[in-house]
Structure formats: structure tokens, C-alpha cells
């Protein structure tokens, strides 16, 4: 699992347990394919405490799901090359055996997925699937587990849980299925919940219900939550911190307030400019990001965003040759961009802010 790290200095011994509850350090995930190596995640680091929510945003293919599957240890063995460290409450998951990680899955960390219909087994009842999740980690009788499943269904707001427990997933509506998925994920009271696009397949009204539910449950269970989405509105609802990803790397990382009120990275500007906003005056035209996201087999040299960036020419060629590191620009607001502070402020004040 460990790959030689060419460009990072060996980590000093003292931090081997990690600092935060979840501490991801220089995570890299690559998939060798016939066309070349797909560098899906190329060195990301973040920390997350219990009771806090991290939002990961980015376009599709930017490595969000791969990141979350790495934390859960869900990449099939031999398919992905993973390096770096993922500390969950002090235990390095990358260095742990598969069996050790399996015992944590579902118990200390759980995940809900985008499409709850395909994520549930069509042949088993919703109850049976929750009972199974509970009994893997708890030595209890079927009756006890069933009672627990009904309680969980009730907790996530499914009406008549004692009857619905015996229904099959296809008999549920989309929103109910996602609630059931949440019940299943939370059945062992995990400390970390990862929600990968949990509302993308749902209608706005149901999305709002599910986001409320996740927020309430987090308060109740005091778990750490990672919410992955391409919808900036959704992260704004839930996240304390936000990591913006582009082409397998974090390009900006800060508090949600900073990201929305004082974004610093041209890609983040682009994302905010492309989305029509219902809370602002209607603009005549959207400002799209030109071009398309790069292939992760042939990531552009220098800053991966440079072919699409309107400011790449301001950096004397650095954007095309040097990969910018994610650096603190003050107050923990991390940005990976070569723009000088003056240029950045000017661009934000003059070009971007007035148009958002």
C-alpha cells in the first residue's frame, strides 16, 4: 500500500498518531489503467474534529469520491495505489490491515451514497439490511437488532417504522430510501459519517429535509461529518470548513465563511460565477469557466487549472511550469495559486466580486 514518497520530506515521529480526530496527510490514490496511471487524488491533507462538518466540493472527476472511499478502505485491493496517512482517532488506516479497517467500517466510520436505490440490495428488506449492519458489530439477537432498526427508522423520520421495516427498497420513495440509508449508516453510532452527494438524486424539497436531518443527527450524535457535493449551496447549508478540489488536489481550503465571502482561488471564483443564484439579482449572463476539466492521466503541467484560468498570464510563466502548493494566506485560509496578494485582491475586488 505504501509507495515511496518522492517529493515529501519524511514525517517526524512525533505526529504519527495524527492530531485531529480525522487527520488525512498527503493522501495519494492512483489507478494504473491501460491508458496510463490515473492520479485521482494527488496529495491532499485535511483535518476534522468530532462535531464538525467538512465540505468537499469540485466538479465531477475531481477525486471527491475516491478520497472518501480511501478513508473507508473501500478501494478493492490491488486496484488502487494508496499512499499517505489517514489517522482516525490516532490509528493510521493506510497502514492497518484490511481486517482492522473492516472492523472500523460501519462501526466507527460510515458512509451514505448518492443513489440510495442502487446502494441498497433489491432482494432484502430495508429492515434486514439495517439489522445486518447492526449485527456485524454488535453481538445481539435478531429481535434486539430488529427493535433497534425500527428505532433508527423512526429516528430518521420514516412514518410507521414498525411496518416499513419489512418493506423492500423499491417500495420506498427516493427520499425515504435515503433516510433508510442514513438509518443504516448511523445504526452503530459511528464517529465519522461520510455523505457522498447524498442529495444529488433528490428533489429540492426532499433535499432540504435530508440536509436538515443530517444536521440534526450530527448534533445529536456529535459525529464528524464529511459532505461531498458539487453543489455549493448544499455545502453552505452544512459545512464548517470547505475544501475545493480540482484535478485530484485541494486548491482552496478554509472556513465556509471565507470560501463564500472571500474566495481566493480563481477556480473557486469560476464556480461561484457559473452558478445562477436565486438569492441575488439576476445577472444578464453567467460567467462560465472556459474549457473542460483535464484528464487525470495527463494533468496539465504547472497549475492544473492553467488552461482554463483567466489569470495564468499574470505570474510570469509560473502557472504553466510550477505546481502551486496549498499555502496559508493568513488565518488558516489555504490557497494553491501563484497570484501575488495584490493581483489577487485586485482581481477579486474589480472582476469577481461585483459580478457575483
Amino acid at each position: 500500500m505504501t509507495e515511496e514518497t518522492q517529493d515529501s520530506v519524511p514525517e517526524p515521529q512525533r505526529i504519527e498518531r495524527g492530531e485531529a480526530f480525522l487527520d488525512v496527510r498527503d493522501l495519494k490514490v492512483a489507478f494504473p489503467t491501460d491508458d496510463g496511471v490515473v492520479k485521482s487524488v494527488d496529495g491532499i491533507s485535511f483535518q476534522l474534529e468530532r462535531g464538525k462538518t467538512l465540505g468537499i466540493v469540485g466538479e465531477s472527476g475531481s477525486g471527491k469520491s475516491v478520497t472518501s472511499l480511501s478513508i473507508m478502505g473501500l478501494h478493492p485491493p490491488g486496484v488502487a495505489q494508496i499512499s499517505g496517512q489517514i489517522f482516525l482517532d490516532g490509528q493510521d488506516l493506510v497502514a492497518s490491515t484490511r481486517e482492522e479497517v473492516r472492523l472500523l467500517r460501519g462501526k466507527r466510520m460510515a458512509m451514505i451514497f448518492q443513489d440510495p436505490l442502487s446502494a441498497m440490495h433489491p432482494y432484502y428488506t430495508v429492515g434486514a439490511q439495517i439489522i445486518e449492519a447492526y449485527r456485524v458489530h454488535n453481538q445481539v439477537s435478531k429481535q434486539v437488532a430488529r427493535k433497534h432498526a425500527i428505532e433508527m427508522l423512526d429516528r430518521v423520520g420514516i412514518p410507521q417504522p414498525d411496518r416499513r421495516v419489512d418493506a423492500y427498497p423499491h417500495q420506498f420513495s427516493g427520499g425515504m430510501r435515503q433516510r433508510a440509508m442514513i438509518a443504516m449508516a448511523l445504526s452503530c453510532d459511528p464517529d465519522l459519517l461520510i455523505a457522498d452527494e447524498p442529495t444529488t438524486a433528490l428533489d429540492v424539497t426532499v433535499q432540504a429535509q435530508i440536509l436538515d436531518l443530517i444536521r440534526d443527527l450530527q448534533r445529536e450524535f456529535n459525529s464528524a461529518v464529511i459532505i461531498i457535493t458539487h453543489d455549493l449551496g448544499v455545502v453552505a447549508e452544512l459545512a464548517d470548513d470547505i475544501q475545493v478540489m480540482y484535478a485530484g488536489r485541494a486548491v482552496e481550503y478554509s472556513t465556509a465563511e471565507d470560501i463564500f465571502d472571500r474566495p481566493q482561488h480563481p477556480y473557486t471564483w469560476g464556480l461561484l460565477g457559473s452558478m445562477p443564484r436565486i438569492d441575488r439579482e439576476r445577472t444578464e449572463r453567467l460567467i462560465p469557466i472556459k474549457g473542460t476539466p483535464p484528464s487525470l492521466i495527463n494533468v496539465p503541467k504547472g497549475c492544473a487549472f492553467n488552461p482554463r484560468c483567466n489569470y495564468a498570464h499574470l505570474n510570469g510563466g509560473a502557472s504553466e511550469t510550477d505546481r502551486p502548493e496549498l499555502l496559508d494566506t493568513g488565518n488558516g485560509h489555504m490557497v494553491a495559486c501563484h497570484l501575488s496578494p495584490q493581483n489577487r485582491r485586485q482581481a477579486w475586488e474589480n472582476d469577481i466580486k461585483p459580478k457575483l
Binding site: E59, S60, P159, S173, G174, G175, M176, D203, V204, T205, V206, Q207, A208, Q209, L211, D212, H230, D231, L232, G233, V234, V235, A236, E237, A256, E257, F260, D261, G270, L271, L272, G273, S274, M275, P276, R277, I278, D279, R280, E281, R282, T283, R285, L286, I287, P288, I289, K290, T292, P293
Partner: protein, 352 residues
């Protein structure tokens, strides 16, 4: 939603291009040994609206409310159960396939899934050129030239002519679909969730493209979407659908600033906004539960099972879709944001 915006001053043209009256589509449900019809999915249940030349009318609503079915009825990919569709003064509701041929040039549809609607074994040239061949259209410099011009028009390169759909990204595929749609210079385009499957940055590109094309070719759009932010950006007028019915139909500005149907209010308030200052403190209207089944829709006002304003009358008397303000129709006994006169109008209409 609180900001004011001038109503679009120039109504581009007030000529009615498409007129729909009492449009109904029920899909029969068959059961039992003899496959008798035991009921029907009331997918679309009595729509009445006009589309004027050059405007963009959007249909919004939760999934399953009948938007796609409406789109397929308008393009006559489906046969209506009842009601009439009049296009350019001609009743097209029950035209047979042969009679539809010329109409197919004028009315085109763009689909949500840019990949599923493109034949993976055909080159882009063949896909975009197909309408010319199907309709036997003579082109000035040959089909290839015409196709290459179309590709350029939608922001693709003419060199893409010999490539296959799988070599393109989602946004590019949607452009291919749009190029095909434009081949025969249609008058009306029904676009079913044209940007829903695309990433935000790409979505903006395609939205801009659709707007440019509308300007250039004086196109009329019926836009089907569920993303209310996108809808506000692209539409001139918006029809909000719930369980096969239009519950509110208004000018874009009116609808977003002064929504009158409780369902519209709820939809708007559910949209997540990329602004942390609103987090938590916003007074939210949260609809409970899911949309009921269109097989057995609730009687009278179909929204009453989820409406926080529902009274007894809502369960017994169906509120008609009536004009409460100029160009603003609503179907509710107790409209939101209404003046006392408007409330009186609504009450009177229910009694009539």
C-alpha cells in the same frame, strides 16, 4: 428574492406560437388475469397555457409531476388523452405520423441525457446530419458543410465531424445534441432538463449557448427543469407544476419575487443558497413527506396533503387556476403574498 428587478420591458413579440388547452395524458394501469385497466397514472391532468413567439417558458416541479410527459406531448412523441395543442394556428393534437413530418422540422426536443440520446455507433457528422437526410433537405454546399457550420455554431470544432460520441465530455455531447436540434432551424425547442446532468462550470456554458442561439435564430423555448436557480436565469415566464397540474404560472420576476402559491413558496425556500450567512437563521418552509402518487392524487387541491395552509375547503373544492394579477395565474384558495382584493378574487372563483 427580495431584490427588485424591472419586468422585461419589451415583450419580444406577443404572437402566440403554441397554444395548449386542457391537455391530459393518462397512462393506463392494467392488472389481473385479463389485464383489465384498473386505473391510470394521471401524469398530465389538464394543462392550459400559451407560448408566445421568442419567449422562454419554463416548466418546473418535483420529479414525477409530469414535466417530461408534457414535453413529449408538445412534440407529439406522445398522443394526448384529451385536450388540444395548437401550433401556429393548426391543431396538431391528433396528427398521424405522416402528417407530423413537416411539423417535426419546426418543433424539436433536446434531452437530458446527452449520451443516451446519441447513437454511440454513429459519427458526430452522421448524427448531426441525420435530420437533413431524414427530411430530405437540400443544403447549399452539401450536408457535410452544413454540419460543420452547425458544429461551429454550438462551439465545437468542425474537425469533430468524424469522431464518436464517447470521445466527448458531457458538455460537448449536449452541444452535439443541440447542433442536431438546430439542423432544421426549428421554431420551437422543447428542452428537457438540458443542463441537469452537467457540472456547474459546463452548465453555464450551455445555458449561455442556448441564450445566444435564441437571440440569433429567434427561437422559442419550452424549458423543462427542476433547478429553480437555472430556471430563473433562463426564463421569461415560469409554470410551476404539481402532480400533473399547473399550480402557478407567472412572469419570471413576479414568480420569484411575489410567489402566490404555497407550493411555489415552499420550493423557493428549499433551494440551498451558497451563502453561509443564511445558514440556520432563515425562516424555512419545510414540506413534509413526499409527493403523493399520481395514480391516486389527493382530491380537490392536490397539494393539500402537504400544505401548511390547508383548510377544509381545500379537500373538497378544487381551486381553479385564475389570474390574480396581470399575467399571474395561481390555483389556490388562500394565496400567499396576496392583497385582500386578490384573496377575495380567489374565494369568489372557488364559489363559481
Amino acid at each position: 428574492m427580495t431584490t427588485t428587478e424591472p419586468t422585461p420591458a419589451v415583450q419580444k413579440s406577443s404572437e402566440v406560437l403554441l397554444s395548449v388547452d386542457g391537455l391530459v395524458k393518462h397512462f393506463p394501469i392494467r392488472k389481473g388475469v385479463l389485464q383489465r385497466q384498473v386505473g391510470a397514472v394521471q401524469a398530465v391532468d389538464g394543462l392550459t397555457f400559451d407560448v408566445t413567439q421568442g419567449e422562454t417558458l419554463s416548466l418546473v416541479g418535483e420529479s414525477g409531476c409530469g414535466k417530461t410527459t408534457t414535453g413529449r406531448l408538445l412534440t407529439r412523441l406522445l398522443e394526448p388523452t384529451a385536450g388540444t395543442i395548437v401550433f401556429e394556428g393548426r391543431d396538431i393534437s391528433h396528427l398521424r405520423e405522416g402528417q407530423m413530418r413537416p411539423l417535426r422540422r419546426d418543433v424539436q426536443m433536446i434531452f437530458q441525457d446527452p449520451y443516451g440520446s446519441l447513437n454511440p455507433r454513429h459519427t458526430v457528422g452522421k448524427i448531426v446530419g441525420a435530420p437533413f437526410r431524414l427530411q430530405n433537405v437540400k443544403t447549399e454546399h452539401g450536408v457535410k458543410r452544413a454540419v460543420q457550420e452547425l458544429l461551429e455554431l454550438v462551439g465545437l470544432s468542425p474537425e469533430h465531424y468524424n469522431r464518436y460520441p464517447h470521445e466527448f465530455s458531457g458538455g460537448q455531447r449536449q452541444r452535439i445534441g443541440i447542433a442536431r436540434t438546430l439542423a432544421l432551424r426549428p421554431k420551437l425547442i422543447v428542452a428537457d432538463e438540458p443542463v441537469s446532468a452537467l457540472d456547474v462550470s459546463i452548465q453555464a456554458q450551455v445555458v449561455n449557448l442556448l441564450e445566444d442561439l435564441q437571440e440569433e435564430f429567434d427561437l422559442t423555448y419550452v424549458m423543462i427543469a427542476h433547478d429553480l436557480s437555472v430556471v430563473r436565469h433562463v426564463s421569461d415566464r415560469v409554470a410551476v407544476m404539481y402532480l400533473g397540474k399547473i399550480v402557478e404560472l407567472a412572469d419570471r420576476v413576479d414568480l420569484y419575487e411575489n410567489p402566490m402559491h404555497p407550493y411555489t413558496t415552499a420550493l423557493l425556500s428549499a433551494v440551498p443558497v451558497p451563502d453561509t450567512k443564511r445558514k440556520g437563521k432563515q425562516e424555512r418552509i419545510r414540506l413534509q413527506g413526499d409527493v403523493p402518487s399520481p395514480i391516486n392524487p389527493p382530491p380537490a387541491c392536490r397539494f393539500h396533503t402537504r400544505c401548511w395552509k390547508a383548510q377544509d375547503i381545500c379537500k373538497t373544492v378544487e381551486p381553479p387556476l385564475i389570474q390574480l394579477a396581470p399575467g399571474h395565474q395561481t390555483a389556490c384558495h388562500f394565496p400567499e403574498n396576496a392583497t385582500p382584493e386578490q384573496e377575495a378574487t380567489a374565494t369568489a372563483a372557488a364559489k363559481a
